[in-house]
Subunit: 552 residues, 2 copies
């Protein structure tokens, strides 16, 4: 093992993985981090974790989990707050580095930073309050329960070490210290982060803050590790992690291809593990005729801004817009085009992401059913001959395409996420065709319904269709802007996620890393503190039969 | 479509499927139900559902689900109670028929009947109380929440039509009106039951009671269908159901092969659906040295009775018993053998089940590491030459095998469920070997730990090992006897189930048929009643930030 980790957080990356509180040795496979706005190579060079290092991180997480034993929830809360403080303390260099690595503006990254540390602190509060573990105690002789039965106690218990795969588009909030990591730590699970090759420095610097907090709060050092992944090792490291016997669950945010592959690996183990994958989403926006009649231009401007935000690289980007043809829809598409025209090209997260976007858009344009409503001069150019991607900064400017409702159900490609600043307007002849088009997609993170006064009787079936297909339904609003709140659902039927019964944002995300265990006739000393008769944490608990709540 | 279903419940089967309240037409594929105790064929002959009938049931369930719209929970509760009453009303002929079809004694079936109707009534209470839907309302301006944000409301919403695959060993409690059906109806989902070919008459008679209740309570007739499956169509019907676009989830209780196959089908759809499979289980019993020293014979007798119950055909049958060699373990195995000797051979559920059991036991006996502790004269005989199974009543008598701890980890077969009245005692040299053996299995419905006064310091690591591998942990008790209670967990890591985050027994089983949906800025008329400001149901709701509960 390499050099010991300084407990101070340096705010700068060293280019090596952090395994159980120590800087790992350099390995053969190396890769660079790039300043996306200029194409310039950043220092240092990064070294991808070796198979032995992956295994070491997993085994140390396992040992740490077992060494920890029955911890009171307060201990997990105590880990989350220093993580937040540590990350806040290096906010300035962190945002500068993340902005260089991802081409995301510092202003947006500062908001993302606040959201990231805010989530860590919110989860600490939730863990201390304690009711999220769904503790239920059925005592013999409680009302409605025969006294001859044995006491049954149940609560959610931690799964063990969790592997986290962060996303390229939120280098802070869905990455090293993002909701997956925060929720797993809050749930009492050690975490191993696979670093993202598009922001390795950002990841390593955040990892320093978490690793320092682990040591500072007395957790076993193996409770957290960060593995650099890149240089051709990225996919292998993911597979090694999800196959490792010591890894008990995984969280993934990214492409459908990646999420599907990891899900399959997790399921095909002799002891299958859950992989929670949040993947692509088309985020349909339905603008009903009454809304188009009353304020088409105002709605169009909001949708345009939502589409163009973050150069269209948000998982909640509105990719499909459903309208019924008429005066209102003309005003809508013209206003949306006019608004998009004001927005210039932005630098995308990476040339490889821009190359995917370019291919997707050009494939659509090759179909005769597709028209360009706005942006004929903004069609992204294919990479130069012999190249997979453009060399320089990878730019994209917002565009708007359209397809007639009668053609919409003919090509499955229309249902794919573009992951860039381009939306497809589906222009329908009438309400029946609109309904048929809306029911073509199967799963999305969000669904937006714009409803005017004249739409009162029209709205319910559309709301119902969205409810069956989306995790979050928005009334008269755009999909971007995911609030960290108890009531949030960030998930939805496939392909939005592979586990629509869960959320990747908000406190309920913590439940993913636990499963219920029932203790029958158990003595106090073997029970988790939450389930003991004396209820030292004052947690609200449900008893059987009467279904009343017992504040004890 | 055939004859209309009489609203009175006949208590006798007609041999045809019940689709949306009507008796389906007879089809080509026919099969018989057998009196297991005698091998005699029962009347009538049964007709397996055709592919068109499967599709019809699924489409009618889908239409019913959509026609129902936003129902108040009281309506679902109102369906469950007449189902229970209807089944109770035909209890006598039902138990007689089920006993003939399954060879289970009437006394046990009467208890199972009470449990089945008790579950339906308990779920009705739970639905009316309402808190199980995890309703959360984040209002703008609530404490800890900025007033500029839009209201977010979240609750569990129904998935749609559910396909139910019941088990052979509980013809009432895990079959047509078992927990899967009861919980899906309670959750507001239409149900299509695939009848079990080992008790088709029992299934059809119970289905009559449910179908009559559906009509009586004003639900669309498609809310419930029952499809006979047998005569070579059994597997096909299962596949057709899980592949059908109108089926949105499935519940399965049975073999690992069946559960794995349906799970794969559900996942490989273009729109994957969850299949909740409760499969085989070994139910390890660990008897620590202090317990062996204090009351070896008493524990041995309890474990023997648990093993022999229902001819070893319960999913919680104790299949692996872990001991440390010594005087206590000798007394234990002798007392267990003596107790088993008092128990005579019983009729198994079917010749095909006995044939599987026979093959499993004989494969174990072929291994030189296996010794017979009790029952050398009870080794089941293989089927006659050229036959797959015995002809007459399929009998089995309890047996006890043993293997040395040092050999236990050498054969994966030792971890397989035998599904019959035979257990394997793992005889270890010391505590370290015991721990190593206990950690060999990966998932089980239950784990039992017998602990004596002298075991206080020894118990925690064993309890922890069981906690990571089991759904329910029993202290000084046997695994059989699953209580229907809020705190119950009937599930566990694979292969016990494919979804260890759920339970197949108790009110929490209802959550499997719903997923969370978040409503942002939604108007009252489009919201489910549970989430409206006026809170007509008086449901407790959580607000963001403070995490307090708001009784409204």
């Amino acid at each position: 093992m390499g050099e010991a980790l300084p407990t101070e957080i340096t705010g700068r990356p060293f280019g090596v993985s952090l395994i159980a509180g120590e800087r790992a040795d350099t390995q053969d496979v190396q890769f660079d981090s790039i300043t996306q706005a200029s194409g310039a190579t950043l220092q240092p060079t990064y070294t991808a974790a070796s198979p032995a290092q992956v295994s070491e991180a997993a085994r140390k997480a396992w040992s740490a989990f077992h060494a920890a034993g029955l911890m009171p929830p307060s201990q997990h809360a105590a880990l989350l707050r220093p993580c937040a403080d540590g990350i806040d303390a290096i906010g300035e260099p962190l945002v500068a580095l993340a902005s260089a690595e991802t081409a995301i503006e510092p202003a947006r990254l500062n908001a993302e930073l606040a959201r990231t540390t805010g989530t860590l602190r919110m989860f600490a509060d939730v863990v201390e309050e304690g009711s999220w573990v769904d503790a239920i105690i059925d005592r013999p002789g409680a009302e409605g329960r025969p006294s001859s039965r044995q006491a049954l106690r149940r609560m959610l218990r931690p799964l063990g070490p969790v592997a986290v795969f962060g996303a390229s588009n939120f280098p802070l909030a869905y990455s090293t210290a993002g909701t997956d990591t925060a929720s797993a730590l809050a749930a009492g699970c050690p975490v191993i982060v696979k670093g993202h090759p598009l922001h390795p420095g950002t990841g390593e610097v955040v990892a320093q803050a978490i690793a320092a907090s682990v040591l500072e709060t007395g957790f076993p050092a193996g409770w957290f590790s960060f593995l650099h992944a890149g240089g051709g090792r990225e996919q292998e490291i993911g597979e090694e992690l999800v196959k490792h016997p010591c890894v008990r669950a995984a969280g993934f945010t990214g492409s459908r291809t990646g999420g599907d592959a990891l899900t399959r690996i997790g399921l095909s183990r002799p002891d299958p593990i859950p992989v929670y994958a949040e993947m692509g989403s088309v985020n349909p926006v339905i603008v009903l005729p009454g809304a188009l009649a009353s304020e088409p231009e105002k709605i169009a401007r909001r949708v345009a801004q939502s589409l163009a935000a973050a150069v269209g690289q948000q998982c909640t980007c509105p990719g499909l817009i459903f309208l019924i043809d008429g005066e209102g829809s003309d005003m809508f598409t013209k206003a949306m085009s006019a608004e998009l025209e004001l927005i210039e090209a932005g630098v995308m997260l990476a040339p490889r992401i821009q190359a995917n976007y370019t291919r997707t858009v050009r494939e659509l344009l090759a179909l005769e059913e597709i028209k360009v409503l706005f942006g004929t001069d903004r069609v992204p150019a294919p990479p130069p001959p012999g190249k997979k991607e453009v060399a320089g900064p990878a730019m994209a400017a917002p565009m708007l395409l359209s397809v007639a409702g009668e053609h919409f159900r003919q090509h499955a490609e229309f249902l794919n996420e573009m992951f860039g600043p381009c939306a497809l307007v589906v222009q329908c002849q009438n309400e029946q065709e609109l309904f048929s088009c809306v029911t073509a997609f199967v799963g999305s993170l969000t669904g937006s319904l714009f409803v005017g006064d004249a739409d009162v009787d029209r709205a319910p079936p559309f709301a119902r269709a969205l409810e069956q297909r989306c995790g979050r339904l928005i009334f008269n609003g755009v999909p971007t802007g995911v609030e960290v709140a108890w009531a949030m659902v960030h998930g939805g039927p496939y392909p939005a996620s592979n586990r629509p019964d869960t959320s990747a944002v908000g406190p309920t995300a913590m439940k993913r890393w636990r499963r219920p265990v029932c203790y029958q006739n158990y003595p106090a000393n073997l029970l988790p503190p939450e389930l003991r008769d004396e209820n030292p944490l004052g947690i609200e608990r449900r008893v059987d039969g009467t279904l009343t709540r017992e504040p004890v």
